[in-house]
């Protein structure tokens, strides 16, 4: 209980610091929502009037205080660009981003564990080299290219996938879920490759440890050795990696969203930054920061389960 409370405390402090920093950063870069909204031909008086209306001519600290006060009550304000509540804008994009994240985490877990352990029976053997080469390729291919390749192959040549067929989950849940599978592969491949390599190296390193020799001496089979002894020790750093990856995919993949034309969080964030839409940017920053902190907390809890010494 004390542990959880401590973590919640950390979360709140982190969010306050991050939100203030992003507010500060925004006040330092050129341009604001009034200039962005009124465009090239507005005169200075009109821009000033809109600034007044949007409250942009107040000191940064006052603007931040005002924002924080509302945010603490769950009100993230209204988008200066779309004139819609920020919570509504962000909430509409979460299903796609979260589904994409869940899919890709499943793919990462299902693929990288078996693949990572495949070659470790005989390090530097043929299978091990094959896995290494494969993961190198996976890491090296740029995501947008992979996206284009997948779309071309499965969408245009094979017709297994409807190019540009994104639908809202409210309209067609089945269509929504099946459309996101291929983008999820594009998100997952580089991460699978990293993970596979990570697991492979960790397993190989562990196998050289004394306890493995002891366990082997006690007559454990190779398979038993791997699953019962090595894997549990490999899990610790791997869980950290997985948590970081989960936080990353939950933040939305800008590149993959663009290639597959998915209206996810990443594109909203980019657009909002160029429109100087502070309320939306703040809300997304808060969301991303929270996922990172929450994922790290989950990793800590997992540690405890895996290794009772961590307290």
């Amino acid at each position: 209980m004390k542990f959880i409370l401590k973590k919640i405390g950390t979360l709140i402090i982190t969010l306050v610091i991050i939100s203030f920093l992003s507010f500060l950063a925004f006040s330092l870069i050129p341009g604001d929502a009034a200039v962005a909204n009124l465009g090239m031909d507005a005169d200075e008086a009109a821009v000033e009037a809109l600034r007044e209306e949007l409250g942009l001519n107040r000191p940064v600290i006052v603007q931040y205080g005002d924002w924080l006060f509302s945010a603490l009550q769950g009100d993230f304000g209204e988008s200066t660009q779309y004139h819609l509540p920020v919570s509504e804008l962000v909430a509409k994009r979460l299903p796609a981003t979260i589904t994409l994240a869940i899919y890709s985490m499943i793919i990462i877990t299902l693929v990288s564990f078996p693949l990572g352990m495949l070659g470790t029976k005989k390090p530097d053997g043929a299978m091990d080299t094959a896995v290494t080469v494969l993961s190198q390729i996976g890491m090296a291919v740029p995501q947008f290219f992979l996206g284009i390749l997948l779309t071309f192959f499965f969408g245009i040549l094979l017709n297994w996938f409807t190019v540009g067929g994104y639908v809202n989950p409210q309209e067609d849940l089945g269509g929504f879920l099946s459309f996101l599978l291929l983008p999820a592969v594009a998100v997952a491949v580089p991460k699978c490759a990293t993970m596979t390599r990570y697991i492979r190296n960790a397993v190989v390193a562990q196998k050289k440890m004394d306890y493995v020799r002891t366990a082997r001496g006690k007559g454990n089979s190779e398979k038993r050795l791997l699953l019962n002894h090595v894997l549990i020790n490999v899990m610790m750093p791997v869980v950290t990696m997985l948590a970081m990856m989960a936080a990353d995919v939950l933040a939305g993949s800008i590149v993959v969203e663009q290639v597959f034309n998915i209206p996810g969080l990443g594109r909203l964030l980019i657009t909002s930054i160029s429109n100087r839409d502070y309320p939306v940017v703040q809300a997304i920053v808060i969301y991303i920061a929270s996922t990172v902190v929450i994922m790290n907390t989950l990793a800590d809890i997992m540690y405890q389960k895996l290794d009772p010494r961590v307290r």
């Binding site: 870069i29 050129p30 341009g31 604001d32 200039v35 962005a36 909204n37 009124l38 465009g39 090239m40 031909d41 507005a42 005169d43 200075e44 009109a46 009037a49 809109l50 007044e52 209306e53 660009q81 779309y82 004139h83 819609l84 804008l89 509409k92 043929a126 947008f144 284009i148 779309t151 071309f152 192959f153 969408g155 245009i156 040549l157 094979l158 017709n159 409807t162 190019v163 540009g164 067929g165 809202n168 969203e257 663009q258 290639v259 597959f260 034309n261 209206p263 594109r267 909203l268 657009t271 930054i273 160029s274 429109n275 100087r276």
Partner: protein, 515 residues
């Protein structure tokens, strides 16, 4: 184990090869082009756009990318046609007084808004006043059109069908600005559920996804052929390209030269112009560009034909001054332009004291790939005359704030769009103009501009505007490049796609060809 894996791989490659064949035959079935067949009524299409709408309220929207879409939903008293004339829309007829001090509009009877209400003189007065910033309570989000606010003194309804616009000074060029949308005066939800009088009416909008319109059955004019048009928003033309390859998009402008070449099998590639003045704009107010010789040297140093050849397969219209041929009779086609000459450029630079070379910074908005690419070519060309140019890419809001408003730059590459009034194109070069981001300053220009604007007699006006272009050329106000070509992919099933001399996509003319 190894053998099994190999077998699986082999199986996989065989199936994919088979499937690939199937895909191939599918495509082979599509019939070739049926040349401009007879229009069929009905059908739905998807039009790709690369810029999200900045507002659905036509008076709040400022992006050219929004205007091109909203053109289908809204109309002004008059609207442009494909030849650049202004034809009656909500107005049935108009009279411009001899002295060009009053514009009198007679409204068309029974024009209906999309919400079923009939357009009244109150609506017209409200709409024009809102655009001109003359309402008692003005929404700060509305972009006041300075051409209207500067010119209009009064907007009044003299009877139930007549609206009179009185001006502060004689002005024969106001018609292009009276295309501003007529909207209902008592309607609050324009920003979320827009209501206009156009051939299409609003259905739905999802930010960063799509803007959907359907045929307006009560339209007073020639009704649209299509039942429904979905404008789908893409992050960029690369993202749209994949869907074009898959045949999911029917109309898509802003293709690059390579994309157009790859799509020419499936689509008709229509070539128009972007109606932009693309130039390397120079800050006449700071060194080294405060010296006319340096500016002229740059005009000689930039090989404009090479830019066209490299970036758009030679397509595009070279311009020699600050106006494009789209302005028809006002365009001065007698200006020869600066010839490409490394020697002349070097000589002029040496005269200005830069015999040993010069370093400059080009601040370019990075969201416009075409301008970025143009800048790259220019940088290479400038090397030949001893100028080292560095490109600083900035995002749009920064460009707007630092370069355009703040005038804190040396040179930039961008395209300027304009309304079809000649004054709108060259107004910015007045020494006192708030948008004179080149800091161009020529007293003779200012005087001639005032004369051009006030001229009531057409020939006098034309002569004055031609002089203005000559000043810009002689002073080398900037390195004018071109009006870029606009490459649009149009599905072979469709006909009627029409380019306008302004930036719009008129879907009311587009139809499916009768099979």
């Amino acid at each position: 184990m190894k053998r099994k894996l190999l077998l699986a791989l082999l199986m996989f490659s065989v199936t994919t090869a088979l499937c690939a064949c199937k895909g191939g035959t599918d495509k082979g079935d599509t019939p070739g082009d049926i040349s401009s067949g007879t229009p069929a009524v009905g059908g739905e299409i998807v039009v790709g756009i690369t810029q999200d709408l900045d507002s659905l309220d036509p008076h709040v929207a400022v992006a050219a990318g929004t205007d091109e879409v909203l053109f289908n939903v809204f109309e002004g008293l008059v609207k442009p046609d494909k030849d650049g004339n202004f034809v009656e829309a909500v107005a049935e007829s108009y009279v411009i007084s001899e002295d060009a001090m009053t514009y009198t509009f007679t409204l068309r009877e029974n024009v209906k808004f999309h919400n079923g209400k009939v357009v009244t003189v109150e609506d017209v007065v409200y709409s024009v006043k809102r655009c001109a910033g003359l309402l008692d309570v003005q929404d700060p989000n509305v972009l006041v059109d300075s051409a209207l606010s500067g010119a209009i003194s009064e907007v009044v309804a003299t009877d139930a069908h007549t609206v009179v616009i009185k001006l502060k000074a004689a002005n024969t060029e106001l018609l292009p600005f009276l295309t501003c949308a007529i909207i209902p005066c008592d309607y609050e939800n324009q920003a979320t559920a827009p209501v206009g009088t156009g051939p299409f009416k609003f259905v739905s909008y999802a930010p960063l996804e799509s803007f959907v319109v359907e045929k307006n059955p009560d339209y007073y004019g020639t009704p649209a052929y299509l039942d429904k048009v979905t404008f789908k928003v893409y992050a960029n033309s690369d993202a749209a390209f994949l869907e074009l390859m898959a045949g999911k998009v029917h109309v898509f402008p802003y293709l690059t030269e390579e994309q157009a070449a790859q799509l020419s099998q499936k689509y008709t590639i229509e070539v128009g112009t972007m109606n932009l003045v693309q130039a390397m704009f120079l800050n006449n107010g700071v060194a080294p560009f405060d010296d006319v010789r340096v500016r002229q040297a740059f005009c000689h140093a930039v090989n404009r034909q090479e830019i066209l050849d490299m970036l758009s397969g030679g397509r595009g219209t070279l311009i020699n001054s600050g106006m494009t041929p789209g302005l028809a009779s006002y365009y001065n086609d007698t200006i020869a332009g600066y010839e490409y000459s490394v020697e002349k450029a070097k000589q002029l630079l040496a005269d200005a004291g830069y015999a040993n070379g010069l370093e400059i910074t080009l601040t370019v908005p990075s969201n416009y790939q075409y301008h970025m690419d143009t800048a790259q070519v220019i940088v290479e060309q400038l090397k030949k005359v001893g100028v080292t140019a560095k490109i600083v890419p900035v995002e749009w809001a920064t460009w707007l704030s630092d370069v355009y408003k703040g005038r804190d730059y040396q040179a930039t590459v961008v395209g300027l769009d304009f309304n079809l009034a000649p004054s709108d194109v060259v107004k910015r070069y007045n020494s006192t103009a708030s948008n004179n981001f080149m800091n161009y300053n020529n007293a003779e220009f200012d005087a001639t501009f005032a004369k051009a604007l006030a001229a009531v007699e057409e020939q006098e006006k034309i002569a004055a505007y031609k002089d203005l272009q000559k000043f810009l050329y002689e002073d080398a106000a900037s390195v004018y490049i071109q009006d870029p070509a606009l490459l649009t992919a149009v599905s072979k099933e469709l006909g009627g796609y029409t380019f306008y001399p302004v930036y719009v996509q008129d879907m009311a003319l587009v139809y499916y060809k009768e099979k």
